[in-house]
Amino acid sequence: MTDAQHFAAVLRLGDDALVLGQRLSAWCGHGPILEEDIALSNIALDLIGQARNLFTLASKLENQGRDEDALAYFRSDLEFQNHLLVEQPNGHFGDTVVRQMFFSAFALDRYTFLARQTANADVAGIAAKAVKELHYHWEHAAQWVIRLGDGTPESHQKVQDSVDHLWAYTGELFMPDDVDTACAEAGLMPDLHELQGTWRDKVVACLERATLRVPEEGWSHRGGKQGVHSEHLSYMLAEMQVLPRTYPDATW
């Protein structure tokens, strides 16, 4: 594992958290019910908090003077290395909870590994906290998928469509590239093939309880980790970054 790969691994964790956190924060004030508005905003806050800690750590590893804000606000879409799943638009509430369920199941296992590894103690500390938060996120999203899938014919059909659409973005979570392989060999990151098995078991159990059909394995979108994103990310970043890019010296 080179220093650049070590940095990239931590940056990617932060990118997943930031992009999904930013997506979810757009629900603030638009939730279908008050409790859900609060829940999605709380989850967004957890994710943005994780991103801040991870970016601060990445900044330390990179040692080029780019702080957490520079990493969040002054990188273009090509420099973001998040998975394509997390940048997909919020869509309707069903789309949002399915995306959250798919991601949380993956992130929970990934953080569980990261909390136990000994290659980087700072990552372990951030992960130990994130595991507990992700437990809540996973439970919450899974319960909604079950409620909507096993709900009315309309909610069932809508959430089935969400599952069918977003399924093609889940394969990328388990496709290792050079960074993943090198970091797994160094003991820092989990073996993605191992994670895939536990992810599938959890997700299939949730879909079955929700009376939803599990999509067939097939072609999967890929490229996020290499900076090749869907069109949606640029629009999201444009909105997220406009203020600091317009007023680079603005502070809180």
């Binding site: 409790e35 829940a39 908090g49 130990a128 938060e133």
Partner: protein
């Protein structure tokens, strides 16, 4: 000549005067957020651990402690440490009592117990009427650390400090 020991003791007095902005009846010490006070290279340093990754109160707390410390020594600073991660196991017993007195059901059990973590199979007592007939309305409440409950006996809504 003021010894390091005396400087640390004075710093603790200042730190103990800082309250959590979200739970103003609790001090940051009772929250279990203060990891230690030390003198590092002649500088007074207080280390704190945030409760939740994205808790906005952490920044306010760090600022409040810094201001209080700098009344003693101009170059004193606060250091945020993330490892080991904060857990509700670190809340002082007095924090549990004060939460109850302020209408919040404190966390139960140990955070290592997964059943307590996600609220499955645990009974949360109503802080008003003590009834065990309560229902969780939402795992996410007014702040990251609290869940939203209601009491089926006295019908009061209340908050539960989540076990993490």
């Amino acid at each position: 000549m003021v010894t390091d020991r005396e400087r640390i003791a004075q710093a603790w007095v200042q730190v103990r005067s800082i309250n959590d902005p979200e739970l103003p009846y609790l001090t940051v010490e009772e929250m279990g957020m203060v990891r230690g006070v030390r003198v590092d290279g002649g500088q007074l340093v207080v280390t704190i651990t945030p409760t939740y990754s994205g808790c906005p109160a952490t920044d306010v707390i760090a600022e409040d402690i810094t201001t209080a410390l700098q009344a003693l020594e101009a170059d004193a600073r606060v250091e945020v440490v993330l490892s080991p991660a904060w857990t509700t196991d670190w809340l002082l017993p007095s924090a549990h009592e004060k939460m109850k007195a302020n209408g919040i059901a404190p966390p139960q059990g140990k955070s290592a117990d997964r059943a307590f973590l996600t609220g499955q199979g645990k009974v949360v007592h109503c802080p008003s009427c003590k009834s065990d007939q309560t229902t969780m309305v939402s795992a996410f409440g007014s702040t990251a650390c609290k869940a939203h409950f209601k009491c089926n006996a006295c019908l009061e809504p209340f908050e539960h400090f989540k076990c993490i």
